[in-house]
């Protein structure tokens, strides 16, 4: 078990190293010149050269990369070219709102997704099942910008139940979280439905019913714990999606998360922020998957990692 975890951690670190390399290389190859950008349009060639030297951009790629890695190990993500602040400060100011939206958003996804999945599986092939699955299909395939604008218009402007975007209390969080929950629940409901149907056909369910257990007890005690296993790794992936930022939803709802920061940085080719956000979300994806894989072991003790 310890060996398994250790192996996973080493793999994760290797993945992260790979991510830094690929991101840094891609941004190195972009034709835009950060020194020029900082120096502004009135700059002389000398000023530009001076800034390039200060930032170490005149060094060959491998030296820049090694330097970046060295700083990274000391927790220094560099300074934004445009905002001139520490990238770590900028990221830190965004992590809180992003985590809030992540927890609430995934919470609603699970709530809606699992509920609909169970109902659909129990009433499989009925009209209700078809309606629910159509709903989940529409949810996962609708464009976020339009869906978010519609939700905002209907619930915030027309009904006036929620504030019109912004960040602050629970009332600000609910609408974007529910919107994300509805949009993303389709993945979970489809997964839960199919895995429920699998489990419902298993012999031990028939046995459980045969020995006189009630429907509800069979469902909660025997079906659900088995059907829920494939959902857990999905949450791990979802954490990554939420951490790397929900650019569109965040911008419509004015939510000050990582997505907004990343989007602006990409527009301005603010390389230190782009690399920083990419790193952070890579860490989140890797961690999310690691935790999900470990959680599965506890939920389903039949999975034996010593044999993998």
């Amino acid at each position: 078990m310890v060996w398994y975890i250790a192996k996973r951690v080493v793999y994760s670190l290797l993945i992260l190293l790979g991510v830094t390399f690929v991101t840094y290389l891609l941004l190195y190859m972009i034709p835009a010149d950060p020194a020029r950008q900082i120096a502004g349009r009135s700059a002389t060639a000398e000023v530009v050269a001076n800034i390039r030297h200060q930032l170490g951009l005149d060094l060959p790629f491998y030296e820049q990369y090694v330097r970046y890695l060295g700083n990274l190990l000391q927790g220094d993500l560099g300074r934004s070219y445009v905002q001139r602040s520490e990238v770590s400060t900028l990221l830190a100011s965004r992590v809180g709102p992003t985590l809030q939206l992540m927890v609430a958003g995934i919470g609603f996804e699970l709530l809606i997704g699992i509920t609909l999945g169970i109902v659909a599986a129990l009433k499989r092939n009925s009209v209700l099942d078809q309606v629910l699955m159509a709903f989940s299909f529409i949810g996962v395939s609708s464009p976020h910008f339009i869906a978010a604008m519609l939700a905002l218009y209907f619930f915030a402007v027309y009904l006036g139940w929620f504030p019109l975007g912004g960040y602050g209390g629970v009332e600000h969080l609910l609408l974007p979280a529910i919107t994300l929950g509805v949009l993303g629940s389709g993945w979970y409901s489809r997964m839960v439905r199919s895995s429920m149907i699998d489990v419902l056909h298993q012999d031990f369910i028939r046995t459980a019913r045969a020995k006189g257990l009630g429907r509800a007890r069979v469902l909660l005690r025997h079906v659900l714990p088995n059907a829920i296993v494939p959902v857990i790794p999905m949450i791990g992936i979802d954490i990554g999606i939420f951490m790397s930022g929900l650019v569109v939803v965040e911008s419509v709802f004015g939510w000050p998360g990582l997505g907004q920061l990343a989007w602006q940085a990409i527009q301005q080719v603010d390389i230190p922020i782009i690399v920083g956000v990419t790193m952070l979300s890579a860490v989140a994806i890797v961690l999310g998957n690691l935790v999900a894989d470990l959680a599965v072991l506890f939920v389903d003790p039949r999975i034996d990692v010593t044999k993998t």
């Binding site: 502004g40 800034i51 905002q83 602040s85 019109l164 000050p256 907004q260 920061l261 527009q267």
Partner: protein, 538 residues
């Protein structure tokens, strides 16, 4: 859906408007307002800030020696009480106001002015505005890092600053009014180091009270501001990260006072055609020209006949229609609000037949293949498509390269890469209201260097010499003649046709009904986008 929304907002608004119909037009003190922006405020360091959100914010937090009459391009003194220019135009002597205090309570004196200019030029500061000060004596030594003090600036006493130039520069007073020339207190800059931009301390009408990164900034009135009664507002909350469409909805509900990003193109017509909202929308001219550059070093654009033909082939009226009339067609590089604009210049007519004939004459009767580089956000690609269609009429097959802003700028600054660049979204809005700012960097030889902004790579040494001569005309009574001379320089450049000037964009600001103050303050040509110091709440 939109009608419901309007109905809702209209009731609220009509109530608001009717109660305010009686309100007088004299400014009142007091009141808090909310302003929204989509993009982050990058920094409030006056030596660094150079974007849409922070330009006017910095002007409200800091002062320089010179400023402009609110809502105009007319120079006035700011921290300077008065100034004198020597006969040869090389020495500027500024006398400072006494008793002006920084937000930290200390009095601003001459050495602060000297320190601030040196700080902007010092390469450690990495200021995008350093180059503006190149006419000050000793600039090269400081810019190269060999010195930290400008030999050209002396401070005979606490209230006198003498600046010596190495060459006469008629635009120098404008340069002293740039944000980059704002006066900062050394002790605060040293205290915060590179984070001074997050903890700005100036002498301005407002002080920064609070900044939650990525969310909100709060400016409060500076009670010690040296101009009595200014600012009128007690507090401004800038809410950041708001989608422009949502900001407008909130404005319609009365939750927001100024939508800083203006009106998204898609909503423009709906807004303009609605009588109620028309009242809230202010339009003004800005010192902007949108143009298509033609790289004069790349065949076949190196042939002036080809460039003239292209000038005649483009239907500017149609392009203006594409952006819902948010601009007026242009025929010369200078915008109409700029001194030196030649009202009588006719430019190249839109004449497809003539254009075809010219191309034939140049030996390109069958046209040629070329590329247009354009920034990839709406409406720029649509404008490029219109240009592409117009060019197709004369047989020129242009491929559109739609890229992120920084990449288009990089392509334009590379001599062999971009045959044509559509300037929309990138260039050129004047930094200060003087025609010289429209020459050097974008049409002069100094800009025609790798990484420069002269994307036409146009370098006419004769006209450059003319420009230098015009900039040596510093005496106040020469200004009219100087403007005229500048006008000629630009129309002469048009004979060589390095650009197709397409249009001069107008600017639109939407504010809530309770906001007072002259319309010009909301589309201030210099305090872009809004002059916060002089607006007030009814």
């Amino acid at each position: 859906m939109n009608n419901k929304l309007k109905g809702f907002a209209l009731t609220a608004l009509s109530v608001a408007i009717s109660t305010q119909a009686v309100a007088q037009d004299t400014p009142q003190s007091g009141g808090d307002i909310i302003v929204t922006y989509q993009n982050n405020v990058a920094t409030l360091d006056p030596a660094i800030g150079y974007d849409w959100q922070n330009w006017s914010m910095i002007k409200s937090l800091f002062d320089g020696l010179m400023d402009y009459e609110p809502g105009t391009t007319e120079l006035k003194t700011d921290l300077a009480k008065d100034y004198a220019i020597s006969e040869d135009g090389l020495t500027y002597t500024f006398h400072l106001r006494e008793g002006v205090k920084f937000h930290n309570g200390r009095e601003m004196v001459a050495s602060d002015v000297k320190y601030s200019l040196e700080r902007t030029i010092n390469p450690e500061t990495q200021s995008p505005g350093a180059g503006f000060f190149s006419s000050i004596e000793g600039f090269d030594e400081v810019a190269s890092g060999d010195a930290t003090e400008l030999s050209g600036i002396t401070t005979p006493d606490d209230y006198t600053v003498k600046i010596q130039l190495s060459a006469p520069d008629a635009a120098f007073l404008h340069i002293m009014a740039l944000n980059f020339a704002s006066v900062v207190p050394k002790e605060s800059v040293e205290k915060w180091g590179r984070d001074f931009g997050k903890h700005p301390v100036g002498t301005g009408a407002f002080a920064l009270e609070d900044w939650s990164l990525g969310q909100r900034l709060t400016f409060v009135k500076n009670d010690d501001y040296y101009r009595d009664g200014i600012p009128y507002l007690d507090q401004i909350d800038f809410e950041i990260g708001q989608e422009p469409n949502v900001a407008l909805m909130r404005l319609q509900r009365g939750e927001v006072d100024i939508a800083g990003d203006g009106i998204p193109p898609a909503q423009f017509l709906q807004f303009r055609n609605d009588p109620e909202f028309k009242e809230l929308m202010v339009s003004g001219n800005q010192l902007h020209t949108g143009y298509l550059t033609m790289n004069v070093t790349m065949p076949p654009l190196d042939d002036v006949k080809v460039r003239r033909a292209i000038n005649m082939a483009i239907n500017k009226e149609r392009i203006v229609r594409i952006i819902n009339g948010r601009a007026i067609p242009a025929n010369q590089p200078l915008p109409p609000a700029m001194p030196g604009y030649d009202k009588d210049y006719e430019g190249y007519p839109y004449d497809v037949q003539k254009a075809k004939a010219l191309l034939e004459e140049a030996g390109f009767g069958d046209g040629f293949d070329t590329e247009i580089y354009v920034m990839n956000t709406d409406p720029q690609p649509r404008i490029a498509q219109a240009i592409q269609q117009d060019l197709a009429q004369i047989g020129v097959r242009a491929e559109i390269k739609s890229l992120a802003q920084a990449n288009v700028i990089a392509a334009g600054g590379d001599k062999d890469q971009a045959p044509m660049v559509w300037s929309g979204g990138m260039a050129w809005i004047a930094d200060f209201p003087d025609p010289s700012n429209f020459w050097g960097p974008i049409l002069g030889c100094e800009g025609a260097v790798p990484g420069g902004w002269n994307w036409a790579w146009y370098c006419n040494e004769e006209l450059d010499a003319e420009a230098e001569a015009a900039d040596a005309m510093v005496a106040p009574d020469q200004q009219e003649a100087r403007a005229e001379r500048w006008g000629e320089i630009f129309t002469s450049a048009m004979d060589d046709a390095p650009w197709v000037p397409i249009f001069n964009e107008k600017r639109f600001t939407v504010h809530s009904a309770r906001m007072g103050g002259d319309d010009a303050l909301y589309v201030d040509p210099v305090h872009v986008p809004v002059n916060y110091d002089y607006i007030w709440v009814k």
